[in-house]
Symmetry: none
Subunit: 331 residues, 2 copies
């Protein structure tokens, strides 16, 4: 091979979202990658593709994997891919999400995972995503990417995030099942609690469970779980050693167990409805921000601001005037 | 005195903003307090009062005081009041701002300061402000309150915030001179840097400078200042012991020094223009947010969300439809 290890795929002749989505559904990875880039950039093409994907009504099961940097999420994700494939999942998609990075397209986390085990498995597709300019950021881009992968025939998408910042937690919890990874060691479980992960976890993993402090970490987690309001699902605490694969089968078991739980009594529908409401609110906020900037960049707004600077209007009156201009009589 | 220590003031016969502002300018503290309550509530009366105050063109000098809870900001503020009064400032206003508290009107921080030294000084007016329901929150209410106090004849308004959250920093930096208070001790200066305070500080104070770690804190701050792009003002680092007043004269000196710096070359005008732009953008965002939420609570938005749940629209399209409804053809 001349091109240095890249799988040779025939060139995609179009950038049309509908055609790309068809091609991606037929197994064309280049088409899929192109669609995900469109989504990441946040332009009209990406939205059209995501809209079309959404309207198919086909949705992937999603598992979010979050936790502090160094907890071993990437290794665990790689193990989960293998376990899911052995369990018969036809295609596993992975989105490795790094809100703090300007790089994407497989340059960071994705590579680490891809290199390890799955380079030759056509049933696995791994993609890194970073903040590229999508209106609403990754919190908006990731659900669209998941939709594309779902419509392209992936029954399962793992969403791995690098840190425990607000965006990471938001992204990881916008999934059907949220796995929170901690390590043995004093206070790690408590840190997870502080970061607001306790309420969002469906499953806890104590990774690196061959190290001292595992029992204490479990005790801390169980104690904190005892204190939370009892719902209809108490997050199980699973011990794993991702580096050698121990415990990963049991984690997969708990993921499928949680899925069965969600499927009962319409829980999954309710959960997805809540997520949609949140997504709409976020997109709306981003859109408002955009419109405000556009408005302020206009001539009318500039003239009004000048009058404020001259103390002829106060800021509130200027805003009222801008709104009246935009909204007409209704403001 | 029967009424238990409250200064006896004749009742204010009106709630009309113009009359209240006249009365406040004549030294009527009850009228001033009433105006500030109106501003805090964010109703039309408050906006009218702030607009009228703004149009007078009389603006107070403003000093923001921010830093972590426990840094000694209230004690330092109390000392600064005394120093400013001794230096000949005819009237000093203080806004003690607590975004996390639903209480206001002097119930919290303000009391601590007021009780200490200034209860009997008619040249001092202290007022606590909390999030009361002002559209745009405290970030919008505080500039209006400052305008009222400026028009009421206060040449200097100190704006003290309780914490270092985003809103607090926003409020404290919406002043002519921002004072960031840290304490000796490993990492406190670094925390300030993390919280984004380094770029916003015009003056650093190491308070409790009689404690160990002062030299290290100064070294950390100076090192961080060395790394920032050199502008035309390098924030001085002042050591104080607010509890006994040491160093406060030097802080006051630096505040007046910074004021002179701002007055040269039109810097103050440029700074106030930047603040106005930001204030207008915030008010506009708050206003559009309000309109959109009003819309979301309505039937049309509910119908759109239902169509998303039914996979007939994707979230992006629903948002587009909502924006078109609010903003008309321009969206």
């Amino acid at each position: 091979m001349i091109s240095g290890g890249e799988p040779s795929t025939p060139p995609v002749p179009t950038k049309n979202p509908a055609d790309l989505l068809d091609a991606a559904g037929g197994g064309d990875r280049v088409a899929l990658a192109r669609l995900l880039s469109q989504v990441e950039r946040g332009g009209q093409a990406g939205h059209r593709a995501a809209a079309q994907a959404y309207r198919t009504g086909v949705e992937a099961d999603t598992v979010g994997i979050t936790g502090a940097p160094g907890a071993g999420k990437s290794t665990l994700t790689a193990r989960l891919i293998a376990t899911a494939r052995r369990a018969g999942v036809s295609q596993v998609g992975v989105l490795a999400v790094d809100p703090s990075s300007p790089f994407s397209g497989g340059a960071i986390l994705g590579d680490r995972v891809r290199m390890q085990d799955h380079a030759l498995d056509p049933g696995v597709f791994i993609r890194s995503m970073a903040s590229r300019g999508h209106l609403g950021g990754l919190a908006a881009a990731v659900p669209e990417a998941v939709r594309i992968m779902g419509a392209a025939g992936f029954p399962l998408v793992l969403v791995e995030t690098v840190g425990v910042g607000q965006v990471e937690v938001e992204v990881a919890t916008a999934t059907d099942t949220t796995v929170v990874v901690v390590n043995p060691g004093w206070g790690d479980a408590i840190q997870a609690n502080k970061a607001g992960l306790l309420e969002t976890a469906d499953i806890f993993v104590i990774n690196k469970a061959d190290r001292p402090g595992t029992r204490e970490a479990r005790r801390d987690l169980e104690q904190m779980l005892d204190l939370t309001t009892p719902g209809d699902w108490r997050p199980p605490v699973v011990e794993t050693v991702a580096s050698d694969g121990s415990g990963v089968d049991r984690l997969w078991e708990q993921i499928t167990h949680h899925k069965s739980h969600l499927l009962a009594d319409g829980r999954l529908e309710r959960r997805r409805k809540v997520r949609l409401d949140r997504e709409i609110a976020q997109l709306l906020a981003a859109r408002i921000d955009y419109e405000v900037k556009r408005l302020l960049a206009g001539e009318a707004a500039g003239a009004l601001t000048d009058r404020v600077v001259a103390h002829e209007l106060d800021p509130y009156e200027a805003v009222q005037a801008m709104m009246t201009t935009v909204l007409g009589e209704s403001a």
